[in-house]
Symmetry: C2
Subunit: 375 residues, 2 copies
Amino acid sequence: MSELANLTTMEVSALTDVDRGLNLTDGHARLFLSPEQATIVDGIPDMFAEASRRPFPEIELEAHTAFLHAIGQHSAPIGTGRILSCYSSTLATDILARALPSGATIAVLHPTFDNIADLFVTRGLKLVPLSEEALLAQEWPAPPVRAIVVTHPNNPTGLITPEGHLRSLAEHAARHGQIVIIDASFRGQVRDAQYDTYAVLDAAGADWVVIEDTGKLWPVHELKIGLLAYSEGLDLPIERAFSESLLAASPVVLQLVRALAEDWGKGGYERARDLVEGNRAAVRAAIEPAGLRLADPHSQISVARIELPPDGPDSSLLYKDLVGRGVHVLPCAPFHWADPATGLRLIRVSLARPHETVETGARTLAKAYLELSAS
Amino acid sequence: MSELANLTTMEVSALTDVDRGLNLTDGHARLFLSPEQATIVDGIPDMFAEASRRPFPEIELEAHTAFLHAIGQHSAPIGTGRILSCYSSTLATDILARALPSGATIAVLHPTFDNIADLFVTRGLKLVPLSEEALLAQEWPAPPVRAIVVTHPNNPTGLITPEGHLRSLAEHAARHGQIVIIDASFRGQVRDAQYDTYAVLDAAGADWVVIEDTGKLWPVHELKIGLLAYSEGLDLPIERAFSESLLAASPVVLQLVRALAEDWGKGGYERARDLVEGNRAAVRAAIEPAGLRLADPHSQISVARIELPPDGPDSSLLYKDLVGRGVHVLPCAPFHWADPATGLRLIRVSLARPHETVETGARTLAKAYLELSAS
């Protein structure tokens, strides 16, 4: 794989495919607005007026409250100044990476979206993988590991860190002076991941940083917020790093987030989940006749991994073949940032797309796989 | 000054002042929408529909064309793939800083907004100052300086790099294998800075990077785009660095930029300039009776520096006193990142505010200065 081929560059090339192929790469919601969401979007011009009339901190506080309560995070430090609104969860991660002591060793869940690992490496941190098996066995890394990064639910596998496991991790970290870092960017999609993370972390007395994201939930064309929250007394220069990156998120976007979060609690969540699960079923139905299967049949997030048998073409070949057919998916090797070969038999497709798009994409994938296998 | 007191942290504290003091800190346009702009904002819901219907590259191309043509940049590499749309000019700068070879020495205009210097330092670059006097004398730094960064027009002084000077710099850089970096974030405000920079740079055969910004022009509550453009054959991993930071800017914001840029060419520019110049005159009228003067009376950008006499209170004292009176401005020492003491007699106020806000702020500043001098 060339130096350029991280997952985001493949997503960019799908987005900029001028022939407008089927884009099943990124985890963003590329859907039409629901009637409820369309009504909210119609109110954006009023949000401009409101942003001029009212103090920014009030607007921000309302957005934090609505969003964090809609996803079950009632113990988040709302109103304390310890939740920073960033343009995106990627930027929140980068701000955190800059605030961590350069040269420190951190453990990062493996596999996970390569961008998370890349941002930490670029800021001079040393990474060691924490496998999903180790997480499930509650085998936590000892010092000199300074911080432990868990994506919850994990992308691409959908693995949810159970509440008891998080408690165990937080108590371990508190004992050893480590920092627990949770990237909860996909949490909004999965009720089972919405237990009150902040209560667990605070009860254990651990230092922690949590990243939340509105960017994977709604079809709002990148008008999103990444939240960077941290524990009281955390000794990292996070505010300084934040001030290097931005002055403030948009008060218009914060109002949009508030309104969409309120809708999320009034049926929006169920509507989105039903669409995603319908699409997951469509992928399964399309691929099983070709001898392929879902790698994570119980995943609830808006992407699905497809497992390729060991004797057929690998995901790198299938990816390239599909690009030729105008269907963009993601080969999974880059998710396995510490050992790409272990991801070679997996391919990821996005489910937050119109049903016909997913169905057509999955059928094309099955057909391509069969033709490649036969050739 | 504490480690935390960079200019942005002072701007954040003005923004989050819950008593809603007068905020004359940042260079963003904090104004009410003009009737023409309000009509454009009313169209945002339609821009959502358009973003779902049309390919992203088309929407992006139209925004680049409208914006760059509205500010005179007819030779910008529109449509070549060498203009990247970022969430902000700060993010564009950080992406560039990451792509430059770590440890390299770069010359940066001095004084200039401290964030520009900070972002390069944080990414491991070594900085040397290029004074405005050296720029005006066309004394360009020799290797080992690898790149030369010029803010055009400069913030906070308003200095415009004349076309002939840019040509001299570009020819010098081409001879010595250096990269010319132009931060043109305030260019949209000043016709004299809108000569075709890209034509000059390309004619000299220099490697170059240019950052453009829509964020200082319109009261759009952070719905903005920073553009990162670069010369053909530039040997820096800019696309890779971009992919670490974002997938894509918002197609809704790109459509908003396009519409506002078209209005900018049809009277919007003149309306905004008249307001800023009226505010500059109001500041001058308020401060001169107190023995203060504008440091840059011919500046055309939306901030003004006020020079304090050598025998009175300095800007650090005056800044603190004004915060106590609910008026937020910026002391200029941090702009002088290589030698803060040289900025101690200067204070910066923003002019892109409603007229009454600027007038009240300037009067309070003059009163505070007189009272501090007498005490």
